[in-house]
Symmetry: C2
Subunit: 424 residues, 2 copies
């Protein structure tokens, strides 16, 4: 701390330049070499657990002094079991197919040229996240597997843990014959370090911020580098007049209560008017039993007197808690309008047995995940079979929805000729 | 002109808001309706040619007064033939397959969920370009076909022509039952209008600037909206020691002289040392015959005494003219290093009969187009079989290389369930 702005800027610049250089060496590494790095990281985590735990103890101690909440401290905390889990997570990434080098869609053109596309790494990726040291390892493993250099900037509360993890990453890279700068943990804890990094669009290809909405808005505002992100998940379920009400109950309950604190939990329930009377009172009883507070519009409250009145803010709210906004709507058209107005492009579902409306809903609702007769909680890279998840994007560019390894690559054109020249 | 900043800002904001609203109606339009709009545009162009020509005459007159170069005036000029060509271009777009709604990669998950991806429009696209009225029509046709609303901001020199074209677009949209605001020509000629537009990331999803490097840098600097662009094309051909020298000559000549003023023409020739003596003098003779000025490094000049000395700037130059930088390199490794140092990620080719080196080059050079034994001039959406080209991207995100209709879409996740809920 107390470092001069200029000096810090220089350090940050050099770190980005070193990542850019290191990426070229990683680019020529074979699949087995990249997997060897991951193996060495997994081994390093287990072997280095004593150092990791004592570094983590420093963070916990100063976090306690700073008055971090118990939830924050829990996210920050490492244990033997959690280190073991991180190591296993890295081992899982080894098994995933490497998207780099995959050639698709080769067509023969009339002049005999073969034109196709080949997946290549994006280059250098900056990950900005809060006080969860496990993100350091997860993100590094996915970036390295997909051939990308990575700069990791975690919350300052986790700085000792992250630097200790960074040492393990660097040692694994070096031992596998690669440049330790391929995966770097930013050592500067000043907030300005992030601002400096976000200017370096010459060296960094993509920023993925993970964390609260405020963190993400700040990154988007300051960045000259493309950002993939989602602000929040205001997920809707629309129970259509054609719904199987038993399925609807099971799905809605699951989507709200199975894990309410995550972005793919349901936040607003839309109920089609003709079935509302039959569906809502029993649904409300199940929610009440599960401890869910309901906030409804007037028509909902007429059927469910215990529901509190919903305000405009409730339609926009990502509660991340056992609270649910409920609205009675006049048909699918009104439901779609509600979602277009208040939704967050995260995940929205229809519950119906009516095929025509199901297909129309899935075509017209352009959220990053749209579902028929399933819980929004399935919106997740692992559940979708991507094998991993580096984040979720609600930006309609490059990746939309959960991002796996493939989303850390882009496709270049490859052209195989035998002497072709162009006439006009 | 003379309008107050605040008032202009308000107009621009409203125009973006109207585009965002109009996009929803376009989104529900069927393929035949979208094609009907394109038909009506093609008809409108031919029927409205008198008005177009007189609007264009105003632009040409004020362009002449402002002292625009003959090349600029030529790009600005409309004629019966050019209007006919524009109409035919739109008719070609009708024939292209509509990427929207395409579902790919459906997998059955262990719990029975079907998970796939469906292509959807990006939303609202802003195109910023210089004084070529044909871009107005081309870009509008591609955006509309792919379900996107479009805001068109051409050079102020073409304002009368563009507004006349905008009327034809609006009339066609209205006649087909869509909102005329789905394709808008920005009427404000003040430069500040662009600055205002580039702030509206809430309403506009993507900016594609087309034109000179200066225009594009300005857009990237000011934009809060994601930008797809390429600054320039410094395309290389590496003639490897394993090249068929006859093929190499034909390809190099074609890549330099067939149309030197475009971004996919070769700007630097790299020649492998062992074949340089055999290859270069004859190649230089062919270039000389075609009027090409050569600028070589020392080793080149030892073999081609007529070549001027190349400076560091020549390795970075996009001449867009009958000038070529030539360098003798020691093998493919040195060629790749040169391309990584000076290239622009546009198009780079190797000429060789050696399979191993050809495959290594195509894997290691991560330009947006990489070729074996073909002229760089083929780097183009039409030549690649995309059926269209809205621009070229050298940004490693979303699209890399020539962009067709598919690149104006993104894929959302679609999930087909039958009542699934998540257990953990």
């Amino acid at each position: 701390m107390g470092k001069q702005q200029g000096e810090m800027g220089k350090e940050i610049l050099q770190s980005a330049q070193r990542a850019r250089e290191a990426r070229l060496k990683l680019r020529t590494a074979s699949g087995p070499v990249k997997n060897r790095v991951l193996e060495l990281i997994a081994e390093g985590l287990v072997k280095g657990q004593k150092q990791l735990l004592s570094a983590n103890a420093l963070d916990l101690k100063s976090g306690g002094k700073k008055g971090l909440s118990e939830a924050m401290l829990d996210r920050l905390r490492l244990s033997k079991e959690r280190i073991q889990e991180m190591a296993e997570g890295v081992t899982e990434v080894i098994k995933l197919p490497d998207p780099v080098g995959q050639i698709t869609g080769i067509q023969t053109r009339p002049n005999g040229l073969l034109v196709g596309r080949m997946r290549i790494p994006l280059g250098v990726i900056l990950i900005i996240y809060e006080a969860r040291p496990n993100v350091t390892v997860e993100a590094a493993a996915l970036c390295l597997k997909s051939g990308n250099a990575v700069i990791l900037r975690g919350g300052s509360e986790a700085i000792h843990s992250n630097l200790a993890l960074g040492k393990i990453l660097g040692a694994a890279l070096t031992k596998a014959g690669l440049d330790p700068n391929t995966a770097q943990v930013v050592a500067t804890i000043e907030r300005e370090a992030v601002n400096e990094l976000l200017k370096l669009d010459r060296y960094i290809d993509l920023v993925i911020p993970r964390g609260g909405e405020q963190l993400i808005r700040k990154v988007v505002e300051l960045s000259r580098i493309p950002v993939l992100k989602h602000y929040k998940g205001v997920c809707h379920i629309f129970v259509d007049r054609g719904a199987d009400l038993e399925k609807a109950q099971a799905i809605c309950l699951n989507a709200k209560v199975q894990r309410p604190g995550v972005c793919n939990a349901m936040e607003t329930l839309l109920v089609d008017e003709p079935i509302a009377k039959k569906f809502l009172p029993e649904m409300a009883r199940l929610f009440r039993k599960a401890g869910v507070e309901l906030r409804g519009d007037q028509r909902t409250r007429a059927m469910v007197p215990t529901a509190k009145p919903a305000t405009e803010d409730d339609w926009k709210a990502e509660y991340l808690d056992l609270i649910l906004a409920v609205r009675v709507v006049d048909g699918m058209e009104a439901a779609i309008r509600h979602i277009q107005q208040y939704g967050s492009d995260h995940t929205d579902a229809i519950i119906t047995e009516n095929h025509t409306r199901a297909m129309e809903f899935i075509q017209r609702v352009d959220s990053s995940s749209v579902m028929i007769n399933a819980s929004t909680r399935f919106s997740d890279g692992f559940q979708y079979g991507l094998g991993a998840e580096i984040g979720i994007s609600t930006t309609r560019l490059h990746a939309y929805g959960p991002m796996g390894l493939e989303e850390l690559t882009v496709a270049k054109f490859v052209v195989f000729g035998n002497g072709q020249t162009r006439e006009k």
